[in-house]
């Protein structure tokens, strides 16, 4: 690896910083630290090179490695490197990047489990190939001593490998049996154990048929299914952990000596924290000093910022817009409103009906049937042959092997892997195992407005109503503030700002300045002395002239119109529910062509809408991002939230949309439908296969060769059918 940091000023600075800066991150002391960055849009070789190369140019970065599978970069850096600075830098060179909380991304048990399965799978594959080679010799006609020798060599390879590789099945079967239940792993374990045991017995008695290859390929195919399943879930889970780690919870606490950065978890009631403009309020608290405006859209769906001054209560999750505020913490951690909401959601989730997946339904039928058929075969042949236990047992084993749920074991994981891989490429992250199947049943989509259908970024819509002089003054004033409305005005190209002097921002109110000897103001209605109009607006007052209003509409989220149009065209019902005011909701609904919309909804109201729809037999997909949506997200049949949503909303959602655009939504639904169809087709293949092979096994025609052929063919058909999903 090329050592990226040889630029000496950086080394010196880093060394200096390490000695002077006493504050250390938890971790490797002065050794430097590991920073994790999320890269939701990275997808190609150029991205890898760009990100790694870009990070290497940053001072203090020792090495950077991109993991494209997890869409994550791991950076080894000096102690003083600010993760946020690296993320900002990457974003500035065109790679969307977010800081992750490395502590929350502990090396996971999930990860270990996938590795463990992969190891067992590899070992089983090695065994299968070698035993198959020997078996081919037997099938080609080796006889007598040669056959016995080949069988013994097979046994020597197969038995230890089965003992190692099939452990996950044995363990799972045993834990099911202990609580007197049957799961898919019971017939699997039984088949593997009986096939191995029977074969050893046969070989000792110079028998003709040994099923070592069957036992081991059974293990290998089923492990493949298990591994695919695990990997799909591992990717989803690690990404979910990543989302949780996205909100690095830190607060600026004011102490007697100054200011310190502490984890939010360490805040106590009565502490004083500072919230700078542009940041989220970390805890519930009362404003002590400062005036500002706060954006509550994530909590309530209101798109208009609210004034905040001393004595006002703020809730965790609100965004501070204009002026610095100091807050006295009123509730922290478990008592804060965010947490209380999360608790409510947890209750809603447990109340949510347990959904039985197709695989579980299949297993519930399959396991008892297989056991009964094998037992029946044993008893019937015992009677027919007049007590030949060896022959009867041979038939029963053949039945168990040939009904092997290879196809069944691969039917679901192969499809979900292919489908969730395809969805992940489009930025849709499936968190729940049954999300795909529930998504396929959806026939109605309910959207939230602020932050979901819209970006939550205002854009001015009546600029042409203003004179050039007004525009010039407005832009000049707007440049003095970082308020979102002001930034939207200041961003207007082609306007030359008027020469203003003595620009002063009054946090929470607006900006004022002097222009041609007159006082000019841009800000809230009551402050400039204008009549409030019922829309998102800011007001400009020049001297004694009546104020004029700049109105704003919330820009639609990228792909929102396509998504709604495609959903309507595909026959889905579309409803818009929002906590925002009637006018704003109506406006968005009209722009998107949604006829069914409800404004001013409280969280309970949203749930009620969903319940009414469900009572009419609709299966509802809820798409929302705010805290006020969480209950609805939990109540819906299946739910999606954007990555920008609050953590509580993402936690209850089945699917998280990593990208900005809503455009992949209709395709997600289509893919889910297709995937469910493939799963059913695969079950069909398995049923047909069993319908043909079980009678053959029952009448004693199944040989080790035919078992091996049937097993492999059905598994391959099922996997290829699943792969069709990736096409297009």
């Amino acid at each position: 690896m090329a050592a990226p940091v040889s630029a000496c000023p950086a080394c010196d600075a880093a060394a200096l910083a390490e000695t002077t800066a006493g504050r250390g991150f938890a971790g490797n002391g002065g050794e430097g630290k590991r920073i994790m960055l999320s890269l939701p849009t990275a997808h190609c070789a150029a991205c890898i090179v760009g990100v790694e190369g870009g990070l290497a140019t940053q001072p203090g970065v020792r090495s950077a490695r991109v993991n494209l599978t997890l869409k994550r970069a791991t950076v080894e850096a000096d102690e003083d490197v600010e993760p946020q600075a690296l993320a900002d830098y990457l974003t500035s060179i065109g790679f969307e990047a977010y800081e992750l909380d490395a502590g929350a991304l502990s090396a996971t048990a999930t990860d270990k489990r996938s590795k463990d399965l992969l190891m067992r799978l590899g070992v089983a594959f090695f065994g299968m190939m070698n035993v198959m080679l020997l078996s081919v010799a037997v099938w080609s006609g080796a006889s007598d001593a040669t056959r016995d020798m080949f069988h013994w060599v097979s046994a020597g390879i197969a038995l230890p490998i089965v003992a190692f590789s099939a452990q996950p099945f044995f363990i799972s079967a045993w834990s099911a049996l202990r609580v007197k239940r049957l799961n898919m792993d019971v017939p699997i374990s039984l088949a593997i154990l009986l096939a191995s045991g029977m074969s050893v017995y046969e070989v000792m008695n110079h028998g003709e048929n040994a099923y070592f290859d069957a036992a081991i390929s059974l293990t290998m195919f089923l492990l493949a299914g298990r591994y695919l399943d695990q990997r799909t879930r591992a990717v989803a889970r690690s990404a979910a952990e990543e989302l949780a780690a996205l909100e690095v919870p830190r607060a600026h606490r004011l102490t007697g000596e100054g200011e310190e950065v502490v984890p939010v978890a360490e805040l106590r009631v009565g502490d004083v924290v500072r919230v700078t403009p542009g940041n989220r309020v970390p805890v519930d608290g009362m404003v002590e000093t400062g005036e500002s405006e706060v954006d509550r859209s994530l909590l309530t769906g209101e798109s208009l910022p609210v004034f905040a001054g001393p004595g006002m209560m703020l809730n965790a999750g609100e965004a501070n817009l204009t002026g610095p505020l100091t807050l006295r913490v009123a509730a922290a951690g478990k008592d804060s409103s965010l947490h209380r909401m999360a608790d409510l959601v947890a209750i809603a989730e447990t109340a949510r009906n347990k959904y039985t997946s197709l695989a579980d339904k299949a297993a519930a039928i399959y396991a008892p049937v297989v056991h009964l058929v094998a037992l029946a075969a044993f008893v019937v042949w015992l009677v027919i042959t007049g007590g030949d236990v060896r022959h009867a047992l041979n038939i029963a084993v053949a039945v168990l092997i040939i009904t092997c749920p290879c196809a069944l074991g691969l039917a679901v994981p192969a499809v979900t892997t292919a489908a969730s891989g395809r969805l992940f490429k489009r930025g849709m992250l499936l968190k729940s195992a049954t999300a795909m199947e529930r998504l396929a049943e959806v026939d109605h989509v309910v959207f939230d407005k602020t932050g979901t259908l819209t970006e939550g970024n205002p854009t001015p819509d009546n600029l042409s109503d203003h004179t050039d002089a007004d525009m010039a003054v407005a832009v000049a004033l707007a440049q003095g503030s970082s308020h979102p409305l002001a930034r939207a005005i200041a961003g207007q190209a082609g306007v030359v700002p008027a020469p203003v002097s003595a620009v002063r921002e009054v946090p929470g109110h607006g900006i004022e300045a002097l222009w041609q000897g007159q006082e000019v103001r841009l800000g809230r209605a009551e402050w400039v002395g204008a009549n409030q109009i019922g829309r998102t607006a800011t007001y400009l007052k020049i001297g004694k002239r009546p104020a004029v209003a700049f109105t704003f509409t919330d820009a639609l989220r990228e792909g929102a119109d396509e998504a709604v149009a495609a959903l309507t065209a595909a026959g889905y019902g579309v409803t818009l529910v929002s906590g925002d005011a009637e006018a704003a909701v109506r406006d968005v609904a009209h722009r998107l062509g949604i006829t069914d919309y409800r404004a001013g909804m409280l969280p309970e109201g949203k749930v009620a809408v969903l319940e009414t729809l469900a009572a009419h037999g609709k299966r509802v997909l809820m798409v929302g991002d705010g805290l006020n949506d969480t209950a609805a997200l939990a109540a819906a049949h299946v739910s999606i939230s954007p990555a920008s949503a609050l953590e509580a909303a993402r936690v209850v959602s089945d699917i998280v949309m990593l990208g900005k655009s809503l455009a992949p939504l209709p395709d997600t639904l289509a893919t889910a439908k297709k995937a469910t169809r493939r799963i059913k087709e695969n079950f069909g293949v398995a049923v047909v296969y069993n319908a043909v092979s079980i009678p053959l096994a029952l009448i004693g025609l199944a040989t080790p060769l035919s078992a091996a052929l049937a097993m492999s063919t059905s598994s391959i058909i099922v996997s290829l059918n699943a792969l069709r999903l990736r096409a297009k």
């Binding site: 190609c44 070789a45 890898i48 993991n67 494209l68 599978t69 590795k115 590899g122 020798m149």
Partner: protein, 53 residues
């Protein structure tokens, strides 16, 4: 048939070799990022030597 006396051990040895190599690649974390590995061969940049673990 005497040839089997050599061929069977040879084939088993080769198989074991494959298994050992697999275990080695596994332990070295070569399956951690299949997607990235697939894309990296397209990049014009390469390392002089493997990273020091």
């Amino acid at each position: 048939m005497n040839v089997l006396v050599f061929l069977i051990p040879v084939s088993i040895f080769l198989g074991m070799l494959g298994l050992v190599l697999f275990v080695w690649t596994m332990k070295r974390g070569q399956y951690d990022d299949p997607e990235g590995a697939a894309q990296r061969i397209l990049s014009g940049q390469w390392d002089d030597k493997p990273a020091d673990e």
